[in-house]
């Protein structure tokens, strides 16, 4: 871990370590900074805040929200809430699987795309809904998936130029 991120981590731990029951909040702050909870960060929290590493991992693995690996470059999330399920979100997951070769909860081998399943985003009127790097796409049809993926790649090329 670099020096600057180490400093950031220290300030997170210092902010929370004397607050009762703040482990979950500490882990949120870490994930907010790094995009996931790196093992080195977990170990640092353990030694600085005097929380057994086993306890930290017990908590980390219990909650779905915490990620233990670095996020993919492009994060695709499909809403599998009830309204979206009724309107075919499973077919979107299947179509993504066909295109990317990974199912929900996985990341492509090159680390470019991750696919996750989310629950109700609050725009059920647009069901089925998926997000690409946080941007909401509504009324998505499986047939739209290839063009959505192409758009991401196009954006990537433009950024590279």
């Amino acid at each position: 871990m670099s020096n600057s991120s180490n400093e950031e981590l220290n300030s997170i731990v210092d902010k929370w370590k004397d607050v009762k029951g703040s482990l979950v909040m500490m882990l949120h702050a870490v994930q907010d900074k790094f995009g996931y909870v790196p093992r080195s960060a977990a170990m640092e929290i353990s030694s600085r805040a005097k929380i057994p590493l086993a306890k930290i991992y017990e908590v980390l693995t219990f909650y779905h929200f915490f990620k233990l690996t670095a996020p993919a470059k492009h994060q695709i999330a499909v809403c599998t809430g009830t309204a979206c399920y009724l309107k075919g979100s499973q077919e979107l997951i299947k179509a993504l699987e066909t295109e990317l070769g990974v199912s929900a909860g996985q990341t492509t081998a090159d680390g470019r795309f991750s696919v996750t399943a989310l629950r109700c985003l609050g725009c059920c009127v647009l069901a089925p809904v998926m997000t690409v790097n946080g941007k909401i796409h509504g009324h998505v049809k499986p047939a739209d998936i290839p063009s959505i993926l192409r758009e991401i790649s196009k954006g990537e090329e433009q950024n590279a130029q």
């Binding site: 029951g21 909040m25 949120h28 907010d32 779905h64 929200f65 109700c120 059920c124 069901a127 909401i136």
Partner: protein, 641 residues
């Protein structure tokens, strides 16, 4: 996000706020706001909640800013003393309800639907300059074909009783001054005058029951907590909204955060707490930001902190995050999570009112329950009890989604017949003319089938038919929705979310899911229905917490009303709706097929043949019934059935 939340609550120093002046302070704010507001000539309220945002309301908002600047009409984005005379107020509100018609723009009571950025110049010219409506942006009443000027003419709104939601789609959720000018925090003032007993008495008169699902009388929960000995008590707001198809609590927190904050302060006063905690789903960062902003504003005005309104009452609020575990909506699991551990439930008693957070008496209430509190205290328990039925008083917010024509956030007086909600507010099903069922209560609930549509919606009636009120999910299903599949969906959710602490839920849930998977895959066996019932009974009786106890409900309820669908799946290996892909056949309708080849490319079994631009066909012997062709065809030429 979480790092923006300060660790220690900074209590304002005495120089900042003089509590003795607090009462006058509210009056002052009100007066100041009214003076500022007098300068506002017109108001444009643009919906800024998720549904409309996803449909482009931010672009509409931005277009108003640029276009207004071009025209030279003075406008402001916030009500402050520096607003120009006769200026126009461009306000971003919470969900206005009719999400399906978004982005919504309300210009002085005229409601424009499906507004695009391109429409903005016309709105400015026609409505603002000439004072005439832009006809084409008005909602058309599908029954009469007439255009509706405002919400009062729109059937979707006509049958609703919007109390909580009225302010939610109207006020600027980030402006405490506007909340105060609309009567905000006067309930707190009144609460301090009548004292904790007075508050509890008013709550008792209202008859408000918990909106988080259980329906426990709120006043009784508060009294039980208040009665406990000891000085250290906690008030907790359950904002972990777990139903996977509902968003009422999020919309309330984002659209009218001060109502919930005021409710939390009054509740804290009533139970004798010094501290209140919002437990907010981590997936709701905007809700958390708005609440934090609201808390900060309250602290500045002395509505939080020491000696509030010079009453001797000290109270602080802080935010904690959930982390994506449905079981943490259960009270004892929520408390474990707040203590920094895995969110695992523990047996009750002791109840949280006896031993809650850090072993201290604690009261936990749902967001909507708390949002009702200021209204009840201001207008009186009797006023509230005037809505709804004797045993289910008040109004209730639902997120109406699924297969109804109108969907969105609705609020009704309890006791309204289900069919009125579905057909009048909801406008009936998207396709066809019959709603097959409505699901309430999410993963802990059940279905209201066609034969029960006349039933008034109350806590008791829903329980009688084997569902529950739940927190407000209201999913409309039509003839194409398979009841076995929907039961499987909910059970899958519960199995995924089971914390694994007790065997009936951990093992029973898994077993039930395997049976349901088998049935929907065409491998159902005679006796499967009995097996489901046996395991369900064991789970209901022996699970430790509400999750396991109620997880079988969606299965039991669909079995009760749609047993024939289960039987058809098991005995005839056929899904009557065509939803269970393995129990249907796929066929290409020659006359509709244009020969685009999309299905052929999508088919993983390579069993579709045909030349480009001529009709294709499927080899049924090779087809693995994956449904990809059905999904890929843009011409509705693949038939599933």
């Amino acid at each position: 996000m979480p790092n923006k939340i300060s660790k220690k609550q900074t209590i304002p120093s005495k120089n900042d706020v003089n509590p003795a002046q607090n009462t006058e302070k509210l009056a002052q704010i009100l007066q100041q706001f009214e003076q500022n507001y007098k300068k506002i000539d017109k108001r444009i309220t643009i919906c800024g909640d998720s549904g409309c945002l996803a449909q482009g309301s931010q672009k509409v908002y931005d277009a108003f800013k640029t276009e207004l600047a071009k025209t030279g009409i003075g406008f402001c984005l916030e009500i402050t003393p520096s607003c120009y005379e006769n200026s126009l107020y461009l306000c971003k509100s919470g969900c206005q309800g009719f999400c399906a018609q978004g982005p919504l723009v309300n210009v002085e009571g005229t409601l424009y639907t499906k507004v695009r950025a391109e429409d903005v110049p016309e709105i400015i010219e026609t409505t603002l300059r000439q004072g005439k409506p832009v006809e084409r942006l008005l909602y058309v009443n599908p029954k009469t074909g007439k255009r509706c000027g405002g919400t009062k003419d729109i059937p979707f709104y006509q049958k609703q009783t919007r109390v909580l939601l009225a302010d939610c789609g109207r006020l600027n959720p980030e402006d405490i001054n506007e909340y105060i000018a609309n009567g905000g925090y006067s309930a707190l003032q009144k609460a301090l005058n009548i004292g904790p007993e007075g508050v509890i008495a008013e709550m008792k008169a209202s008859g408000l029951r918990g909106r988080g699902g259980g329906g426990f009388p709120t006043w009784l929960k508060w009294e039980n907590t208040r009665k406990q000995p000891g000085g250290e008590k906690y008030m907790i707001c359950n904002a972990d909204e777990g139903d996977p198809g509902a968003y009422m609590d999020r919309s309330l927190l984002e659209g009218n955060p001060h109502a919930v904050i005021e409710g939390m302060i009054i509740a804290g006063l009533a139970i004798g707490a010094q501290k209140g905690i919002f437990y907010i789903r981590a997936e709701y960062p905007i809700a958390a930001q708005r609440v934090q902003k609201g808390i900060d504003a309250c602290r500045k005005l002395g509505l939080l902190g020491e000696n509030i309104f010079n009453s001797g009452f000290n109270y602080e609020l802080e935010i904690r995050y959930g982390a994506g575990a449905f079981v943490c909506g259960e009270e004892t699991a929520l408390i474990a999570s707040l203590e920094g551990s895995r969110g695992m439930p523990r047996p009750k008693p002791p109840f949280p009112s006896q031993s809650g957070l850090w072993g201290k008496p604690s009261a936990i209430n749902n967001v909507e329950t708390l949002a009702n509190v200021p209204y009840i205290i201001s207008k009186g328990g009797k006023w509230f009890a005037g809505f709804g039925t004797e045993k289910s008083p008040g109004t209730k917010v639902f997120a109406m989604t699924g297969k109804s024509k109108n969907s969105g956030l609705i609020e009704i007086a309890l006791g309204m017949p289900v069919k009125d909600i579905v057909y009048e507010i909801g406008g009936g099903p998207l396709k066809g003319d019959k709603v097959k069922a409505v699901q309430t209560g999410g993963p802990s609930g059940g279905v209201i089938s066609g034969e029960n549509m006349e039933m008034p919606i109350t806590y008791e009636s829903l329980q009688q038919i084997g569902s529950i009120m739940g927190s407000g999910g209201f999913i409309v299903m039509d003839e194409t929705d398979c009841m076995v599949d929907i039961a499987k969906f909910y059970l899958d959710f519960c199995v995924d979310e089971s914390c694994g602490k007790c065997a009936p839920c951990r093992i029973g849930g898994y077993q039930m899911l395997q049976i349901l998977k088998r049935i929907t895959d065409g491998q159902g066996e005679a006796g499967d229905i009995d097996r489901l019932q046996t395991v369900a009974t064991a789970m209901q009786k022996a699970s430790l917490c509400g999750l396991g106890q109620t997880a079988p409900n969606p299965v039991m309820s669909t079995l009760r009303y749609f047993r024939h669908e289960y039987e058809e799946h098991i005995n005839k290996k056929h899904c009557p709706t065509g939803r269970c892909a393995k129990l249907v056949g796929f066929e290409i309708i020659k006359t509709s097929c244009v020969g685009c080849g999309a299905c052929k490319r999508a088919c993983p079994a390579q069993c579709i043949s045909g030349e480009l631009r001529s009709p294709h066909s499927i080899d049924p012997n090779k087809c693995i019934k994956c449904g990809q062709c059905y999904a890929a065809c843009k011409f509705n030429a693949v038939r599933r059935g």
